[in-house]
Amino acid sequence: MKKKVDACGLSCPEPVLRLRRVIDGADEIEVLVDNQVCVENCSRFAQSKGFCVSVKGGSGHYTMTLTKAVNA
């Protein structure tokens, strides 16, 4: 099931903490953040948990799609 984390307006580490709460057992997660730092930090954390990361958007509105890697 696809989960969604809305972390707009929050600064790190809060978005990563919110992501951490849902990442175990998830196959696909959509994360909404509003700055590059959070994109970088969430990406690093997701990749360390075996997720592939794709990012869309810019200028204060980013949608990250995290997908569990097949061989993870």
Partner: protein, 356 residues
């Protein structure tokens, strides 16, 4: 890997700038210190009357403007604010009180360690303890709530103030106070200090350099990459000190430092705890303020007011040690930070911010 290399390079740049500024006249083991340099700037503007520590430090101006310029160039300048500004202001004051009890921010702690000052190594214990205390609250749901998009003028606030400070330090009108002796009188040439600040501000903006983030992310997420600049700065400045003959191991007679170990621990405990709640160390707050974050701008004003309070009310330590007022101030500030942590900690419901 790319980010690891990036932060390592940023650490190398900061280390080299620190060595260079030390060689060209900044105080020993204080080539770069956010707390001390904001304190000096506050003194130059007459916010306190401690004659030995008054100078508008171009490094602070450079860091803010460097982050501002790089942020604009890289489209990473985002005016934001509204995340508990008054609470952040109070935390800024408390962090500054802790820093001036220890005599330095986390960056100066590293520089002092690289100079052989073992009091800073002792202080590191308190710094880590403070970060761990903050992490307990982060794990329980601590938040200063979300920020919101702001007009461009709000994000440009602190950079504009620093441009005015640059005009003041160049023009040196009579109402700006400059130390004739003491640490405030020791400084590298203005243009070199400004250039050093610009370079550090730019490098810190791109690499997200943060002394709190290193330990915090290592504990919270087993993400060790931000510890890299900590180590690189330490090694770079250590080598620089060995080459320039400025390395002396010991507790006693260290430059602008005291040997009261318990207060070195407690001072940095307060810095670590408060900075975790703020989301970044004093250097990071300057860089964020330069990148348009007005909440960090308010925090920097908290640093200024904290520095003024420290010197007006006799809270700041000196080489002779901690003052009685400083001990009382520590107790008050530690209680304040603890209360702020408690009152802003609310366990997230399982569904909050998460769907389905």
């Amino acid at each position: 890997m790319k980010q690891k290399i990036g932060v390592a390079i940023a650490g190398l740049i900061v280390g080299l700038v620190a060595v260079c500024l030390g060689v060209f006249g900044n105080p020993a083991n204080m080539a770069l210190c956010i707390a001390c340099f904001i304190r000096d700037t506050a003194g130059a503007l007459g916010l306190h009357q401690a004659e030995a520590v008054q100078y508008i430090r171009p490094e602070i101006i450079g860091i803010v403007l460097g982050a501002f310029i790089i942020g604009l160039l890289k489209k990473d300048h985002a005016p934001k604010g509204g995340s508990s500004p008054f609470t952040r202001f109070v935390l800024g004051i408390c962090v500054m009180v802790g820093a001036l009890i220890f005599l330095g921010c986390p960056l100066r702690m590293v520089l002092r360690m690289a100079g052989g000052d073992l009091n800073a190594v002792i202080g590191l214990v308190g710094f880590i303890g403070g970060i761990l205390t903050g992490i307990v609250f982060l794990n329980r749901g601590f938040s200063l709530k979300r920020s919101y998009e702001q007009p461009a003028s709000e994000g440009a606030g602190l950079p504009v103030v620093n441009l005015l400070l640059l005009v003041l330090v160049i023009a040196a009108p009579a109402f700006v106070l400059f130390s004739g002796s003491g640490p405030g009188s020791l400084h590298a040439p203005l243009l070199l200090s400004l250039a050093g600040g610009l370079i550090v501000g730019g490098a810190a903006q791109r690499s997200r350099l943060c002394f709190i983030g290193g330990v915090r992310d290592a504990v919270l997420f087993k993400d060790f990459h931000m510890l890299m600049p900590f180590a690189v700065i330490l090694v770079t400045v250590l080598i620089g000190n060995l080459i320039t003959g400025k390395f002396a191991v010991g507790f006693a007679d260290q430059p602008i430092a005291h040997t009261e170990w318990i207060w070195n621990i407690l001072g940095l405990y307060l810095v670590g705890f408060g900075s975790v709640l703020l989301g970044g160390c004093p250097l990071r707050q300057l860089v964020l303020a330069g990148s348009g974050n007005s909440d960090s701008g308010v925090t920097v004003w908290g640093f200024f007011v904290g520095a003024a309070i420290c010197h007006n009310f006799g809270l700041a330590s000196s080489g002779a040690g901690v003052t009685p007022n400083g001990r009382i101030a520590f107790a008050i500030c530690a209680a304040l930070v603890f209360l702020i942590a408690v009152f802003n900690t609310k366990k997230l419901s399982q569904k909050q911010g998460v769907s389905p």
